[in-house]
Amino acid sequence: MKQKLTPILMGLLAVCLFCVQPVFAQNKTVSGKVTDGKDGSAVAGASVTIKGTKQGTQTNAMGEFTISAPASATTLVISSVGFGTKEVSITEGAMDVVLAAAANDLNEVVVVGYGTARKRDLVGATASVAAKDFNKGTYTSPDQLIQGKAAGVLVINNTGQPGGSTTIRIRGSSSIRSGNQPLFVVDGIPLSGGLARPGGSGGEFGNDGGNPLNYMNPNDIASIEILKDASATAIYGSRGANGVILITTKRGKSGAAQVDASASAGFSQVAKVLEVLNADEYRKALKDYGLTSGDFGKSVDAFDEITQAGLIQNYNVAVGGGTEDARYRISTGYLDQKGVVKTSELKKLSVNLNSNFKFLPSKKLGLDLNVMVTQTNERIAPISAFVGFTGNLISQALQWNPTRELYKPGTDSPFVERGSTTINPVAQLRYYKDLAVVNTILASISPSYKITNDLEYRFLYSVNRQVGTRKGQINRLLNAQDIENRGVAFLNNQEQTNTQITNTINYNKKIGSDLNLNAVIGHEWLVFDSKGNGLFGRDFTNLGLNYYDYLGTTSQASRGVYSFASPTQELQSFFARAILNYKDKYLVTGTFRADGSTRFGENNKYGYFPSVGVAWNVSREGFLENNDFVKNVKVRASWGKTGNQEFPSGASLNRLTIGEYNAGISAPLINRATWGNPDLKWESSATLNLGLDFTIFDERLSGSVDYFNKKTSDVLYEQNLIQPAPPGRIWFNLEGFVINKGVEISLLAAVVRNKAVNWNIGGNVSFLQNDVSGLAGFYETGALRGQGFSGVNGQRVINGQPLNVWYLRRFEGIDKGTGQSVYADGGSKLYYSGSPNPKMLLGLSTDVSYKKFAATVNFNGNFGQYIYNNTAASVLGIGNLGNRNIAKGLVGTSIQESLSNAPAPSTRNLEKGNYVKMTNASLSYRVGNIGKSFRNVNISLTGQNLLVITNYTGFDPEVNTDGGVNGIPSLGIEYIPYPSARTFTLGVNFSL
């Protein structure tokens, strides 16, 4: 590792040397250091300006600043994100400025769509999470950094695979069939949500799609803003309905070049092992059931054989600096995270360059240039939810008869029973290989020109290009169907290129003495392109080479070849926003966006999305002014319309697909695939938001309360066609509604605030309710899987019930006499049995510092949702006894369950999913400076996923195995997933 990083570091240093320019003093030189009142640590990047002028600078990584000031200057204004603004008198010599962490800093400038705004001017429901408040530990993508950090935001890690996908819901799910993930915008670049990581083909390869944000290095992120209500998101029009997450990367700060480095290492282990019988318990169970076969005489732990303590290493180096007119930041990061399942691994190397320039004597011409380059290398475990009855690695390990040898005696070769349908999990791992490499470039160039002091034009061109390759193989030695004595391999490629052109004009003007106007108008054009190809084949011999490197030798009949290019996709938009502030008391924000998309049907090419928000700053009224108890009270109201256009391109056109070549007619078959819908359009959400922000008790307690009501109409659905019809379905805007309403409360309290000890507690809670109405008929989803579960869909979308409501037989226990399951109405009737959607979300953070020690603990929890434990239901049933292993809870019960009791889908395995998790906890010690070179040395010990409080009996109640049916997503299913990890890391940060 060291050898690898050294040249990069040298390169970065070389670049810095070119960029660094001395700052010349003019009148008088003021210098000093800015520290955090909480723990005395340096505040880097704080803005330091001379009051009454435009002169300013920023503190370096050590919190130090030097600024030249006119001789007449008397006061400095110092501010930083997450801290208050402080005015201090200029004094002789090195000044020592202590900033207090503001409970809620209203002068803070936050990023909003297509610009920035003062936090005090905001009228919408937004949440901002700064880097210092991110979850602590090793994370592969930015969405994980905000889990539990903002009210109304649900983040679920779908799988424990390093780099695995997440489910994010802002204020619940409002769409039945369309995507519910929010729109991510990175430094003004709206992402497509796609990932150019191909799937596997030809066998049962890992099915998790991966996280499309993996290419971002969390260490490069300065802050994440979450836009929740329509006032905030309507500026994103047809892509704003699911909420918008704005990611702002770290910028260079003017001053001498500064190197910030961090290194951490640790390991992860399986957080919770699902309990199955061990060999002795198994033998006892065989005896209890009078079974004479099934004991092979050994004693093994198959799950232990496929899992490991996975090592994690993470290194980051960033160099930043420059002058006021030419700032840069270059960073590189390297992460190597081995998973808890043997062989699985994610390696990520990222380089990020940020630079900001100002030209011309007037400094009116600006240029921002950002380039992010990342390579992710994954080795994927053989864990797919879409497996046949021989299961995946997890079910194979859970089911393995604990009395049966895993290895051939005296060797480390896995034991394989030819012709058997029982697959040895050790063999599955040994004979399986699945590799994915994704290269990503996210680059943007953005010149701007200040036409007048109030009017600025900005142009933004960005390219987001990803190229992904995936290759995999299963050795012919594995006794799986169509693999045994044949072997299979594939090689798939995918590429994705998204380009963006945005023109904006910002107008920021103080009109008269009381009215402030911040307005923007703009035009945006986005083009999305995706292509791919791949091949697979069977029938290999073992020559000591990787199958996927010589696919040309496969048997002709077994080969498959594909290539595709996505339908053309473009989005053209016009938008405008005005923020009016009258006397800091009355605030009005109006936004408007018109979105035209190639996706929309011929008769609905453009959609229009208005919003309006108002706020009243009550604390600015005479009766509350200068009140020490009530520092700030603001009431807000907003209404607006946003859209969701996450349906596939091409859905508005009649489509014919090209089938395979037929020699008889010397041409390929052609099939009419489906009808297009020329009226097809976006899904439309009208959101009402009422909110209250407050800061009381001498700024010791701040918080917000929001009520929202989001009514989604023109609900997108891929509807059954009226037969006779082509075999597909038609995309349709349904007449029904999905209503999400709820209350969100977030609080931040400074419990103890003194020189030695600082203790803050922050928390948020959201209550969500979800209802579907006005639909014609019902739609099924929630595919439950396993033997005896063919074609079973456990969830429905139907009027008067929450989205994805469970619809199952009602289990009433095991009959004492027969040992068979008893169901209400003999099992002939299905019941609505609860919702997989959480009713309450909870996030809790606390940090304490005492002198040089600091501790942070973050919790998150979800309540009210029901999870179907499909793993227990169909993988570990009592019928396995004598052959495969069973769940531990099935033996030693008062009523003996019959071996022939069918493991049928019912409420028996529908469990309450309530949980509270200690997302992470971190303890750090500020060493300070070591010698002259190492400054601000800080060491920390962090644990992730340390504690889960739940009654759920599966692996982890935070789970979402894909059980979508006909494209309708499911929620709340656990089926033989990649287990989640508990992670410990030791890290060190320092500056040079």
Binding site: G419, D482, A557, S874, G877, P903
Partner: protein, 512 residues
């Protein structure tokens, strides 16, 4: 300010420059506008593939036509085949409008109708048009047979237009007029997997034979006029001189049946090399035990009462069948027909063991229940039928056995039935015995409706006609071994709720 105007103009130009018309196009599929490049022959093969789907494998049409009768049973075997009770509903005729099999059969038949009609939009030749209309007629015939209502669409372009609904005899008359209209354009010769004059005649025979049923399902009567048409059409098929009964019954279903069978009139082509076919291997998979080769899903079985209808010498009951690519079978074990008793490795002749309990021999037993609960036997119960000799020689999911739709034996039995129903039992008996002799069974002394239905069962078991035959003979609703008596409304399937919800021209069938 002048400067500013200039800048503003520049901006506007920039914006206009990047304006786009937002036209959409496919790049890997075709849109309707590519019409000129599409030939009817390409779509016709798609229609053939479409009709082949629902008849093969264990689902939908095949399952409803077979497992609801005295011929088959889908036992719940603890962990296997519970599937939320779907199979029990099929077996006991307790289905409702939500059942996946009821919906699947309806949707697949109507998708085929659309696919066949769509061929007609692309300037087909006279023969291509006739073949497409034959496929459409075949799908409509099964639709009216199952549901008594056939949604029919003339305009294929506008998805908003509702299809008309042809009810009962209306649909029957339409199908007859279609078959009559295309007869001249269909080829007289050619492979069995292409629609031909004889295939259309066989389909007409089925319709005339069942016409009385479509008029009154509970108490059908059979017009002499229709029966005479059945006889005349059978005579025309025989007179074409193209068919004779195969000397080995299982040649009609073997992987090389397109070469061997002398009696197949219409088949659905299964040919991986030609990229054509359905899930014919499902016939082996749905009955075979896990430890057999191929390793199956240990599912469906037949009932011992049905099995006992065969005499031991009847080759249709099962033989050791030798075929190209087949197993060595040194012990000459029964590998097609009905599998009963100890099962063997067909290569080494070693007796096979059960999976759970693993120390038990793999012995298929006569008795079977709809819900098996005895752990010691639940994998083993039931006699397992499979007519389609497993194609070991072809790797992959698609196999070479063509699916038999119309066979000469069926034509002769239909003729015998028509003769019997027009008081000419003697002539019918001769026909039936000619088949029985070929199959190694003793002659029947007399021909009655009861023993003719039995004979149809022996000849055509698991070919998808049992429900129709039982209804025509008035036996469908009776109680059988492991089958309760069923109410009259089950003679017709419910219209799937998914279609009732979207198509106001459909009304739910009575009783649902």
């Amino acid at each position: 300010m002048n400067n500013n105007k200039r800048y503003f103009l520049f901006l506007m130009t920039l914006s206009l420059f990047s304006c786009t018309k937002l036209d959409e196009s496919f790049r890997s599929d075709l849109a309707e506008s590519n019409n000129n490049d599409i030939k009817a022959s390409q779509l016709l093969l798609g229609a053939y593939n479409s009709i082949a789907g629902p008849f093969q494998g264990n689902a939908d049409l095949w399952a409803l036509q077979t497992l609801s009768t005295d011929e088959g049973i889908p036992p719940t075997r603890a962990g296997d085949w519970d599937d939320n009770g779907a199979w029990r509903a099929v077996s006991s005729k307790t289905w409702n409008a939500d059942l996946a099999q009821v919906r699947g059969q309806f949707e697949q038949l109507l998708a085929t109708q659309f696919s066949a009609s769509n061929v007609l939009q692309y300037n087909p030749s006279a023969q291509e048009a006739a073949e497409a209309r034959f496929i459409r007629a075949l799908s409509m015939y099964w639709t009216v047979d199952g549901y008594d209502q056939v949604p029919y669409r003339e305009d294929l372009q506008d998805y908003k237009l509702l299809p008309i609904t042809l009810k009962g005899m209306e649909a029957v008359d339409f199908i007859i007029s279609e078959l009559t209209a295309i007869m001249n354009d269909l080829p007289a010769t050619g492979p069995a997997y292409t629609a031909s004059k004889n295939a259309a005649k066989a389909l007409l025979m089925k319709i005339y034979l069942n016409k009385g049923v479509y008029a009154n399902r509970a108490t059908p009567t059979f017009a002499a006029e229709d029966m005479n048409k059945v006889v005349a059409l059978a005579d025309e098929i025989v007179a074409s001189g193209r068919y004779s009964l195969s000397s080995n019954y299982f040649d009609n279903f073997s992987p090389d049946n397109h070469l061997k069978s002398t009696e197949n009139i219409l088949t659905f082509l299964n040919d991986p090399a030609a990229n054509r076919g359905g899930n014919v291997r499902g016939f082996a998979f749905m009955v075979q035990h896990y430890n057999q080769n191929p390793s199956g899903w240990n599912g469906f079985a037949t009932l011992s009462d049905f099995y006992d209808k065969f005499e031991a010498t009847d080759q249709r009951r099962g033989v050791a069948y030798s075929y190209p690519g087949g197993p060595a079978n040194p012990g000459k074990r029964v590998n097609v027909g009905f599998m009963l008793g100890q099962q063997y490795d067909l290569v080494t002749d070693a007796p096979l063991k059960a999976r759970n309990p693993a120390d038990k021999p793999l012995v298929f037993t006569r008795d079977v229940k709809l819900v098996e609960t005895d752990p010691a036997t639940l994998e083993l119960t039931g006699i397992r039928p499979n007519k389609y000799a497993y194609d070991y020689g072809t790797p992959g999911d698609q196999k070479n056995n063509d699916f038999a739709v119309f066979r000469l034996a069926d034509v002769l039995l239909m003729k015998a039935e028509a003769l019997l129903r027009t008081s000419n039992a003697a002539a019918g008996l001769t026909l039936v015995n000619s088949i029985r002799q070929k199959r190694g069974a003793a002659d029947l002394a007399t021909l009655t409706l009861d023993n003719l239905l039995d004979e149809r069962g022996r000849e055509l078991y698991w070919e998808g006609y049992r429900r129709q035959d039982q209804i025509r003979f008035g036996k469908y609703l009776l109680a059988y071994q492991n089958k309760p008596a069923a109410p009259a409304h089950t003679l017709i399937f419910p219209i799937p709720s998914s279609q009732i919800a979207v198509n106001p021209n459909l009304t739910q069938n009575p009783g649902y």
